[in-house]
C-alpha cells in the first residue's frame, strides 16, 4: 500500500465525516424544532416579569459566521436605540435590560435561541434576524409561544404573522418603486441578476409580471450561489444581451465580484446602469470606485433630508463600534425598537395580546429618520417612502427619484391587478 492511496483513503474518510457532520447537524435542527413544538404554549406568557423598574428584551443577531458581516451593525444600532430610550426614561418608565444572543448564521440556532429568550430569559420581545431563513426559523417558535419578534430587513413579502412586526420594506415598497423608476427613465430592456435563494427568485418573479405590464422586456436572467464571488461568465452574457438596465438582486460579498466583473467587461453606468436592492452605504465602500454611478432602491438613505435624520446620523457616528455611515437596514432596526416603545405605551402594557390590540387601531406612528412611518395593524408592516439613490464618489447616494407619497405596505400585493392569485399562492407556498 503506497502512502498515496493511504492519503486518498484519509481524504475519502474526511468527506464521509463532513457528510456525517452535516447529517448530524440537520438532525439536531429537526429535533430542536420538534422540542419547540412539544414545549407548547404551557411556557408562554406569565414568565415575563415587568414588576421591577426594568423590562427585558432579547436581541438576536448573527455575531459569528457568514452573516455577521451584516448583522453585527444591526446589533450595534439596537444597543444604541436601547441606550437612547433608557436615557429618555425607558418604556412605560421601565429601563430596557437587553439580552444579546448570537444566531451564528445558523437557522436552527435562531429557533433555539428564540425559545431560550422567551422561556428562560423571559424577554418581552425579540429584535433581530436578517436572512429570510432566520425569520422562517423564528416564526413557528414565536407563534407557538406567543412571543413578539421585530424583523428589520427588506424581504420578499408574502408573509404576515400576528407575532412578527416587519420594519423593513416589503416588495411593493422597494421592488415596485424601482420598476416605476425604470419606467420613468424609458427603460425598454432589463437583465435580471441575482443570488440563488428565495429573495431574488421571488423578487424576479414579481419583476417579470410587472415588467410585462410596463412594457419592459426581460432579456435575460442569471443566478449565482450566494457564496460564489466570480460573475465573469454571467457578465459576459449580460454584455452580449446589451440591456438598457440591470436589475441586481445579488446579496452579500458576491456583489463585489459582480461589480468587478461588470467593470472589467467594460460595462459602464452611462450605457448599462445597474439598479440594486442590496447595496447600501455600508456595502458600497467594499466595492471601490467600480460601483460609482449605479443606482439603488431603498426607503432610507443617509443623504435624506428629514427632521430626525441628522440626529440619527450624529448619534450613530458618536456610538462606539460605529461603522460611521447609516443605512436602510440599520434605520429599520432603529425604528423597530421605537415602534415597540410606541406600541407598549399605547397598550399601557407589555402583554403580547394587548400590544397586538393596540396595533389594530392603526394609530401607531414614529418620526423615523426616513420620515413619519405608520404601522398597519393588520399586516404588521409599516408605511414607507420609496427612494432611488445614485452612488457618488464618496459612496453616498444622491437621491434621484422619490415616490409621491408614503407607500402603504401590501405584502401579498393584493392591490396590484397584474399579480394573479394563482401565482401569489404558488410563491407563498414555495416560500414556506
Amino acid at each position: 500500500m503506497s502512502s498515496t492511496s493511504k492519503r486518498m483513503r484519509v481524504l475519502v474518510a474526511t468527506g464521509a465525516i463532513g457528510t456525517a457532520m452535516g447529517l448530524v447537524l440537520a438532525g439536531c435542527g429537526a429535533r430542536a424544532g420538534d422540542d419547540t413544538a412539544g414545549a407548547g404554549s404551557s411556557a408562554a406568557a406569565g414568565c415575563v416579569d415587568t414588576s421591577g423598574d426594568t423590562v427585558k428584551l432579547g436581541f438576536l443577531n448573527s455575531l459569528t459566521g457568514g452573516m455577521a458581516i451584516s448583522e453585527k451593525t444591526v446589533s450595534n444600532v439596537l444597543h444604541m436605540a436601547a441606550d437612547e430610550i433608557n436615557a429618555g426614561g425607558g418604556i412605560l418608565g421601565k429601563k430596557i435590560k437587553y439580552v444579546q444572543e448570537d444566531g451564528a448564521t445558523d437557522w436552527p440556532t435562531f429557533a433555539e435561541k428564540t425559545e431560550k429568550l422567551l422561556t428562560q430569559d423571559c424577554v418581552a420581545a425579540i429584535f433581530g434576524g436578517w436572512t429570510s431563513s432566520s425569520r422562517k426559523a423564528v416564526k413557528p417558535v414565536v407563534e407557538k409561544l406567543n412571543g413578539l419578534f421585530f424583523y428589520p430587513v427588506q424581504y420578499e413579502g408574502l408573509e404576515s404573522s400576528p407575532n412578527i412586526y416587519y420594519t423593513g420594506a416589503t416588495t411593493n415598497q422597494q421592488i415596485i418603486p424601482a420598476m416605476d423608476f425604470l419606467a420613468s427613465k424609458g427603460v425598454k430592456t432589463l437583465f435580471l441578476a441575482g443570488s440563488d435563494y428565495v429573495f431574488p427568485r421571488t423578487a424576479n418573479a414579481i419583476i417579470k409580471l410587472y415588467a410585462a405590464k410596463l412594457g419592459i422586456k426581460i432579456v435575460g436572467e442569471e443566478y449565482v450561489p450566494l457564496d460564489k464571488d466570480d460573475w465573469t461568465s454571467q457578465v459576459a452574457k449580460i454584455a452580449a444581451a446589451k440591456p438598457d438596465f440591470i436589475f441586481n438582486t445579488i446579496n452579500g460579498s458576491s456583489n463585489v465580484g459582480f461589480i468587478k466583473a461588470y467593470y472589467d467587461a467594460g460595462l459602464t453606468p452611462a450605457q448599462t446602469p445597474i439598479i440594486s436592492v442590496s447595496i447600501a452605504e455600508e456595502e458600497a465602500p467594499a466595492m471601490g470606485h467600480e460601483v460609482t454611478g449605479n443606482y439603488a432602491s431603498w426607503n432610507y438613505f443617509q443623504s435624506l433630508k428629514t427632521p430626525t435624520n441628522p440626529k440619527f446620523i450624529q448619534s450613530w457616528k458618536a456610538y462606539p463600534n460605529s461603522s460611521g455611515v447609516t443605512s436602510d437596514p440599520m434605520e429599520a432596526a432603529y425604528i423597530s425598537l421605537y415602534l415597540y416603545k410606541a406600541l407598549v405605551e399605547a397598550a399601557g402594557s407589555f402583554d403580547v395580546n394587548a400590544v397586538n390590540a393596540a396595533a389594530k387601531k392603526n394609530t401607531i406612528t414614529f418620526d423615523a429618520p426616513e420620515g413619519k412611518v405608520t404601522l398597519d395593524g393588520e399586516n404588521h408592516h409599516i408605511s414607507k417612502p420609496g427612494h432611488i439613490g445614485r452612488i457618488n464618489a464618496d459612496n453616498q447616494f444622491d437621491i434621484v427619484w422619490a415616490s409621491d407619497k408614503f407607500i402603504e405596505p401590501d405584502p401579498y400585493l393584493e392591490g396590484y391587478d397584474w399579480f394573479p392569485a394563482d401565482i401569489r399562492k404558488q410563491l407563498t407556498d414555495a416560500a414556506g
Partner: protein
C-alpha cells in the same frame, strides 16, 4: 459556437485562480499529508495584506506588485506559526489535523471580522489591468490574463525550486521516503516547516489574485477550500502537473456549464464530474511511485 472562445478564456482564468488556491495545498496536503482546512483563511490573510499594502502605497499601479511578495511572506509566517504550534504534534493523526485546522480557520475568520470593517475592504485594481484584450472578437478582461500569468509564474517558480534547489531536492527526498531521508542527514523537521511556509505563502499570493476578482472579507476563504481540495485529489496527490491539469479542467468545465445552464447548476455539474472521475480513478490523474513500504 460564438461562446467557445469567451468561455474557454473565462474558464482558463477561473482554473488559474483555482490552481493558485490549490498549489499550496498540493504541497502541504500532497507532499506532507496534512489536511489544512485553514488554507482558505491563509488566502484571506493574503487578500487583507494586499489591502494593508494599499493603505501604505496608495498608487494601485505599484501596490499590487508589492503586495504579492508581502502576502506570500505574511501568509507564510502564519502557516509557519500554525505548523510550529499545532500541526507538528499531529503528523500521524491526519483526521485530528482536519478538526483542529477547521477550528483555527474559524478563529482567523472571527479575528478578521473584529479587526476589519465587517462588510469587507476594497482592494483597488492597478490601472494597467483596466480594460480588455480583444481576441477573435471577444473583449477579454485583462484581469483574467493577469490571473493566468500569475498562476504560470507561481507554478514555474515552484517547480524550479523543487527541481533545482537543494531544499527542493530534500523536500522530494522526504516525500519519497522520510526514514531514508533522515538517515542521510536531512532534517525532516526543517523540511516540514519550510514546506508549510511555502505552501501557506502560495495561498497568500492566491489571496491577492482573489481580492481583484471578488470581495475581501472574513468569509472569502470558505469558497475556495473545498474546490481546491477536490482539484488536488483529482490531479493525483503529490503531483504538480496533475493539479495544474485538474484545475484547468474544472475551471473550463465551470465556465461552459455556467454558460449552458446557470451559475448554480454549473457548480453542481462540475463537481459531480470530479466525483465521478475520482470513483473511476481514485488515485487521480497522475500518481507518485514511492519506494517506501508504508
Amino acid at each position: 459556437m460564438d461562446a467557445l472562445i469567451p468561455q474557454l478564456l473565462n474558464g482558463s482564468a477561473q482554473g488559474a485562480l483555482l490552481l493558485l488556491a490549490a498549489l499550496g495545498l498540493s504541497l502541504t496536503f500532497g507532499q506532507m499529508g496534512v489536511i489544512n482546512m485553514a488554507h482558505g483563511e491563509f488566502l484571506m490573510i493574503g487578500a487583507f495584506s494586499a489591502y494593508l499594502v494599499q493603505q501604505v502605497i496608495v498608487a494601485s499601479d505599484l501596490s499590487i506588485p508589492v503586495a504579492l511578495p508581502v502576502a506570500f511572506v505574511v501568509a507564510g509566517l502564519f502557516g509557519l506559526l500554525l505548523e510550529v504550534t499545532i500541526i507538528r504534534w499531529m503528523y500521524r493523526r491526519p483526521l485530528d489535523t482536519l478538526l483542529v485546522t477547521v477550528g483555527v480557520g474559524l478563529i482567523l475568520q472571527q479575528a478578521a471580522l473584529q479587526i476589519f470593517p465587517s462588510q469587507g475592504v476594497p482592494v483597488e485594481k492597478p490601472r494597467w489591468l483596466d480594460g480588455q484584450l480583444t481576441i477573435l472578437g471577444y473583449d477579454w478582461p485583462l484581469r483574467q490574463l493577469f490571473t493566468i500569468l500569475l498562476a504560470a509564474v507561481c507554478v514555474a517558480a515552484l517547480s524550479a525550486w523543487l527541481k533545482y534547489t537543494s531544499f527542493g531536492r530534500r523536500i522530494r527526498a522526504t516525500v519519497h521516503n522520510r526514514d531514508l531521508a533522515e538517515t542521510t542527514g536531512i532534517s525532516t523537521r526543517t523540511i516540514d516547516r519550510l514546506t508549510f511556509f511555502v505552501g501557506s505563502g502560495l495561498a497568500g499570493v492566491a489571496g491577492v489574485a482573489a481580492s481583484l476578482i471578488g470581495g475581501t472579507n472574513s468569509q472569502m476563504g470558505a469558497q475556495y477550500i473545498i474546490p481546491a481540495f477536490l482539484v488536488v485529489a483529482a490531479g493525483g496527490i503529490g503531483q504538480l502537473k496533475g493539479t495544474i491539469l485538474a484545475a484547468w479542467a474544472v475551471g473550463v468545465a465551470l465556465a461552459f456549464f455556467a454558460y449552458w445552464t446557470t451559475g448554480s447548476l454549473a457548480q453542481v455539474l462540475a463537481f459531480i464530474l470530479v466525483i465521478v472521475f475520482l470513483q473511476l480513478r481514485p488515485q487521480g490523474l497522475f500518481t507518485v511511485r514511492t519506494r517506501s513500504l508504508a
